[in-house]
Subunit: 459 residues, 2 copies
């Protein structure tokens, strides 16, 4: 009698269970939602590309039946990391010329190497390598400005990564455009082609206020606003850039951009190392987001961006690795999350600034806000895209654990990433990419290395 | 006829081949010797605890026959990393209280947690966990100052790590000594017990000039010199320490120590963040080495040690992680090597300072010099102890590679360590410890975590 009652109950429960495509469970679910909910023994249910439920494991299991499950009883499940500034294809130039001044590096290594080597194929293969590295270290969305960005979009889609992608408009002839106008015309076609893509957000990208004319800056902004596309640009990366801007325009780079109406629309400003208090206020008033790249800014000795002030002023701040050829040398956003926290502490002289949870926020919701994508990515919440990662806790450096956020920021690294889902699709499982053939991607990269090395030695 | 000639030749070669216990070969052998020899397709031959030859693989193979070999055709073989300052057992308190002021952290978390929990067993198990983490991330020698250091020595020997180990002499009652004199008496016995150990270098450790009386400092120095032991001490870690010293003694901590004769003998000064130019000169004149701990100094907002100046002045500078409970949170010396390079660049405003090779030098020969062990460890040279590590190059973030040193410092991490040998013994193979049972060590650490958490919540 009891048995048949239970059977009947189970039958009713099953009848009422909603279906999901995938359920991932973990010891800790870090949601990064507005309440910063941390769920012990939690689960996330996914249907199609979207999260349909986040909660205690028992609750989710009672409510959903899933075709596929992944249980990680000794791990953290959290939103995927969002890289707001990089030049992915430069992976093929990783470490080609380190420990040099920016000028020496650009003029004697990067520009010659790019001039001789950057082709559509170079960009595709370099971005593939970068995507592989990014997914293996927990990045689910990256923001790219380089050349031949249609090939970047293609590589991202093959990898299964989300990409915010813009072709660099720059004052001199580039590998893929003779003039800024050519680049803008190309960009318009690109915006049309990718406007409804599930993974690619096409963007307009202008190199910087100093490598684009006022006319180009105005046209680029008009184009971006016409398509509702984000604008990517480097702003106030070095002290010299600010000094030059004062000489040329009598104002800071930020203020100069504003004087052209360039800040009237969604803008992702990379670096912002030398923003003044008044520039920060300007960014706040125009909802300009800042892509903070601590690793790059330290290695190139650009300075330390005052992000504590920016956050206090209400400016959206996210994280970027910058390119891997001299600025950073890898795409591990976990390292930049760590660096953001510790460099801000030593720079301000206060160990309490940028505590661990805020550093995690930078790499997730902060970055989503910078890109204007806070409604679709950056946290684990029903209705958002299913972009999430699993971090292992079964290695010695992850034991013991007194605080989940501290562990993520100060002890774990990109190599602790075990599984990755983007847009509802599993792209990393057990630390292995399910979308890219790692051995093949690395072997192609090595072939490029030989070719690039000889091109440099014969210059 | 030809065949028998070859056989005869091989026989002669074999007759002339010297025997070795182990030969390790790799795509690149980074020697860190005085010429900074980098050998492509190189090998190291080991007999007993010592390196007997380093050279091109073909040469070593022609000259030596080995019972055991390890071939790593896609890896770097380099000297083991040397940690010149840590508190290993604090691994059990990893991240127990982050993002706090030093005072709050010490008074409300560390001291109460230590008072209730630090026993000989705690120290043994905590050091075991630390040793596991250190070996897996490429450290072969660590320098420890904590309590119950006989248990630290025991754990290090079980793990197979080399340890420079000193029991902390401190002004107030500590977990293992009621008075500084008790601690010194204990230390003398410890110095006698371990004076001829192949792995343990017993040291004298005094907490700092501000937590030891002038009398204790003098006695400690006399004891160290009597046994030819290194002296471990924290010096000029924070600005407040320097200000307090000026108030109390009318001079800097370094100058105060000198006024007591404390610097007359081998000394490892941890941190040195606030050393003045004249302090640096003083350290040079007395051959005091500095254990630079960039991760700790950044996280605790202590400041950035002027190591570029120290190196220019001829002071020996090495690297330390510091303890993992708030200062750093892990033992990955690869991270501190990276941090040392990039924080020095941004701090001096010059991207050319502390180039990659010099950063590798800090973690190897520099650290060996700091410990006064430059004749036995720190480089791969015949006659030195066989302490060496293998770094994998077969992961996406290690491809392509244009410069070995750049790759080590800016792209690789502790998780790329594949094999580790200390004193001629293989202690890590394929990323797995051969001396410690990782699952058991972590399970014990988790049990401590529960106990410590409850002890804190009921304080």
């Amino acid at each position: 009698m009891i048995r048949s009652c239970i059977s009947a109950l189970l039958f009713i429960v099953c009848l009422h269970a909603e279906s999901a495509d995938r359920i991932w469970t973990a010891r800790y679910v870090v949601t990064m939602d507005a309440q910063h909910r941390l769920i012990e023994n939690g689960a996330v249910a996914v249907r199609g590309a979207n999260i349909v439920a986040v909660g205690p494991r028992a609750e989710i299991e009672a409510k959903f039946q899933a075709a596929e499950r992944l249980d990680r009883p000794d791990a953290i499940l959290m939103p995927g990391l969002i890289n707001t500034h990089t030049h992915a294809a430069m992976s093929l130039l990783r470490g080609i010329a380190d420990d040099r001044t920016l000028q020496d590096w650009l003029e004697h290594y990067i520009f010659p190497a790019e001039k001789k080597n950057v082709t559509p194929e170079f960009v595709f293969e370099g971005t593939r390598l970068a995507c592989l590295e990014m997914m293996l270290s927990g990045t689910t969305t990256f923001t790219d400005m380089y050349y031949f960005e249609d090939r970047v979009a293609e590589a991202a889609k093959e990898a299964g990564l989300r990409g915010v992608v813009g072709d660099t408009v720059i004052a001199f002839p580039s590998p893929d455009a003779k003039t800024p106008d050519d680049a803008l015309a190309w960009t318009e076609q690109f915006l049309q082609r990718y406007r409804n893509d599930p993974l690619i957000v096409p963007a307009v990208a202008v190199h910087s206020p100093y490598l684009a004319s006022a006319e180009t800056l105005r046209k680029a902004r008009a184009l971006a606003n016409q398509y509702g596309a984000p604008m990517l640009i480097h702003v106030s990366e070095t002290k010299k850039e600010n000094e030059d801007s004062e000489k040329a325009h009598g104002m800071s780079p930020a203020r100069y951009l504003d004087s052209l109406g360039f800040l009237n629309g969604r803008t992702v400003a990379a670096h912002g190392v030398w923003l003044s208090d008044s520039d920060i206020q300007l960014f706040h008033d125009h909802s300009v987001g800042v892509a903070h790249c601590p690793g790059s800014n330290m290695k190139l000795a650009s300075g330390v961006a005052p992000i504590t002030k920016m956050i206090a002023a209400g400016v959206a701040v996210g994280l970027g690795t910058d390119g891997p050829a001299g600025s950073n040398n890898d795409f591990d956003l976990m390292r930049d999350m760590y660096l953001a926290a510790v460099v801000q502490k030593v720079f301000t002289g206060n160990p309490q600034v940028l505590p661990a949870m805020q550093a995690v926020e930078l790499a997730t919701m902060g970055s989503a806000r910078v890109l204007g994508m806070q409604d679709t990515i950056g946290s684990l919440e029903p209705g958002k895209r299913a972009d999430m990662i699993v971090l292992r806790l079964d290695r010695p450096h992850a034991v013991p654990m007194y605080d989940v956020y501290s562990q993520i920021v100060y002890a774990l690294t990109g190599s602790d990433v075990e599984d990755v889902m983007v847009n509802g699709r599993t792209i990393v499982r057990d630390g292995v990419s399910t979308t890219l053939d790692a051995a093949r991607v690395m072997s192609i990269a090595r072939a490029y290395q030989s070719r690039i090395s000889s091109s440099l030695s014969t210059r």
